[in-house]
């Protein structure tokens, strides 16, 4: 299996998904070598072999960064050949070299590669060693750039990988559609396998810390409805539409509090927009949070909104469901395909979103039934199922190869 990150060295959902998938696959009897581009310890991963393609520190897996001077990089990148790791392309080249060397002594039944970062290595395995190559799509460059074309180089690598893959796994029908429409891949080459909630979520022994948000609790007890959203503040997440909808909703019901949890390049413009709309009193920016604080946000919220312009899956919605939030999802998010007990809207439809928020805020019975029904639904999806589907796909392709 080829990946770019695993917890605790992950920056987002990709690492979590990879870890859970590998764990479930191992449980089904698969033996896995997992290649990562950096060197670091990973607790609770003894069910597979983790292979480091370089001796880099995890923070340099995207390269040294174009904004650092060579002298700073010299100091920071702890390896003999510093010039080799200036950019993410250099790290990817090194990653490919490692995979090639590995394949000269090992012959896996199948190569399962996650996202564009590792597709080149997957292509290499197929071309030079004839190993079946499964490309797993967690997000495309279209998703990441708000349905614009994005970085042409990344697009190119994605395209090559998707073309040459023996099979493609997409995390939702929405993603499958994008792969078909934007990359011209035939539909029958793409299977949909939905993600599931991180298994650690249930066994962590989490309990809601009453102290963290005393202030929000006070508001809540005076009749406020708490609406939250969680994620990176990038164009992909459609947060400006959410902010506009928030202003509309607040104009009808001032007892609404919106929590924007996360950070990213759009933060400043979101703050300015909240000020512009005159609703900063009803908006909270928490900055980047994880772990206990993040779960406390889910716990204290009544409603969770996933406002993404495009969201291949949307794991945070499942996390919110786990904490019994009522969900409002854009029709453009993959998770809305599996969760039915939720309100949906088109990402640009601010008025409808405002309507839905106001409806839940004003009707406790509606809120309760959404919250209860969702509990039953999100439990139906499990990583065990994901693993079974993956194995099915593996076996078909191994067989095809042999014939």
């Amino acid at each position: 299996m080829l990946g770019w990150e695993l917890p605790p060295h992950n920056s987002g959902g990709l690492g979590v998904a990879c870890l859970n998938m590998a764990r479930a696959l191992a449980r089904e009897g698969a033996s896995i070598d997992f290649v990562i581009p950096y060197s670091a310890g990973h607790p609770q991963t003894d069910f597979m072999n983790i292979l480091s393609a370089t001796s880099l520190d995890p923070i340099f897996r995207y390269g040294g960064g174009s904004y650092e001077s060579p002298r700073v990089l010299e100091k920071n990148i702890p390896t003999g050949n510093k010039k080799d790791f200036m950019s993410i392309r250099d790290v990817q080249k090194e990653y490919c070299k490692f995979v090639k060397k590995y394949l000269s002594t090992h012959t896996p039944d199948v190569i399962h590669a996650h996202d564009w970062l590792t597709y080149e290595a997957g292509v290499l395995a197929k071309k030079e060693f004839g190993i079946p190559f499964i490309a797993h799509v967690h997000a495309t460059e279209y998703d990441r750039s708000g349905m614009n074309r994005g970085n042409p180089l990344i697009h190119e690598i994605e395209y090559e990988g998707l073309m040459l893959a023996d099979k493609i796994i997409a995390v939702s029908e929405a993603t499958k559609r994008i792969i078909h429409e934007k990359y011209k891949i035939p539909l029958n080459k793409i299977d949909v396998v939905y993600n599931s909630l991180d298994e650690n979520y249930n066994i962590d022994g989490y309990f809601f810390n009453q102290e963290t948000y005393k202030y929000i609790k006070t508001l809540k007890s005076s009749g406020y409805t708490i609406i939250s959203t969680v994620g990176r503040f990038t164009i992909q997440k459609g947060l400006h539409y959410l902010m506009e909808a928030a202003a509309l909703a607040i104009s009808k019901n001032p007892k609404l509090l919106f929590i924007f949890a996360g950070d990213g390049e759009e933060r400043n413009s979101l703050i300015a927009l909240a000020a512009e709309l005159g609703i900063m009193k009803n908006v909270i920016f928490t900055g980047f949070i994880r772990g206990q604080k993040l779960r406390d946000i889910y716990s204290i919220s009544d409603i969770f909104v996933m406002s993404s312009i495009s969201e291949p899956f949307g794991l945070t919605a499942l996390e919110a469901a786990h904490h019994q939030d009522a969900l409002i999802l854009t029709k453009q998010s993959g998770v809305s395909e599996v969760i039915k007990s939720a309100f949906t809207y088109d990402f640009w439809d601010e008025k409808k979103l405002a309507d839905e928020i106001l409806a839940i805020a004003s009707q406790p019975k509606l809120k309760k039934s959404l919250q209860n029904n969702i509990r039953n639904e999100y439990r139906k999806i499990s990583w065990g199922q994901v693993a079974k589907k993956c194995l099915e796909i593996y076996n078909k392709n191994i067989k095809r190869k042999r014939n």
Partner: protein, 397 residues
Amino acid sequence: MRSICLYLHMHQPIRYREYSVFDVSNSSNYFDCDYSERQSNERIFKKVAEKSYRPTLNLLEKNIKKHPSFRVSLSITGTWLEQAEKWGPDLIAQIKRLVSSGQVEILGETYYHSLAFFYNLDEFNVQVDLHADKIQQLFGVRPKVFRNTELAYNDSLAKWAEDKGYRGIVAEGWDTILGWRSPNHVYRPAGCKNIKLLLKNYRLSDDIAFRFSNHGWKEWPLTVPKYQHWLNMDCLRGNLVNLFMDFETFGEHQWADTGIFDFLDSFISSWLSEYENQFVTVSEACNLMPPADEISMPETVTWADTERDLSAWLSNSMQKSAMNDLYSMRGKILASGDEKLISDWRILTTSDHPYSMCTKYWNDGDVHAYFSAYASPYESYMYFMNVLRDISYRIMK
């Protein structure tokens, strides 16, 4: 007689720290942070005290002793005094000596260096009285001439100051208002009878305050004879030159190595060496001559930026919402009767806070950004609003 009215402004805001939403309801400490942090009031005060307050006060005291006719006027905010009491009591003792020499006058203003005049007249009156009481308590005098925060001035402020009993008021001598008239006279504000208006000679003031160390300026380096020549020429259009500037011009805006201290030192002696020259305090300036004319400023004029308006403080939506939300809480704050809460709230009225949310020149990285205690205007706004949340939480409790 040719007179120079030298007036210096001493102020430090009490900055709020990077107050996160996780602090709301858990900690009501808004203003204290680690010494190493960007917003550490203690560190900043001590640094500026070392670089500017102490050497400049020493220089002024030396000249006061040497020249019985040397005069200087100071405006000192309450937030500066509070911090000096904690981190530089010697500075207060020294100012006390200066005031008792009779050669130094102190101006009246708002205690918290606020723009309350434009939001809430009651609050404005309270803050002016608080300041006058503090000055009386520390230095045994009551201010007779008024300066508003950022020299923000208009006709209704002048009317207010006259009704309050002030002898004079100071403002920017902006060309747009003056037209062909010179700032080198005493004026009468429109609609007033007794109060006098002193106008800043911004060219000659800014030669020292802004341009002194600018190597790109064609007049650099500025020498005492050259500057005195300009003063002589300027006196042809009026015998009173009002040099108003930040106290921190000396040592902080213009560092010691630019020669600013030597310049000030020899300039004082050199000006007084001519028999028809003198220095005056702001009150003395008001009595020098009858008003030359009436001046009207219906729109607010300040001493900042090329616009000379309030746009650096109150133009973008973040600044407006922050100030509107802040002032709209006043009734409940006062009704609480909680003195700590009231003073925390008043510290937030300081004009430096909305100034740090200014985006006017943010992208150019100019003075606004240089002097900011926050990484960006957006962050400043975010922390400010979090503090307001906690304050409203304290009212609710």
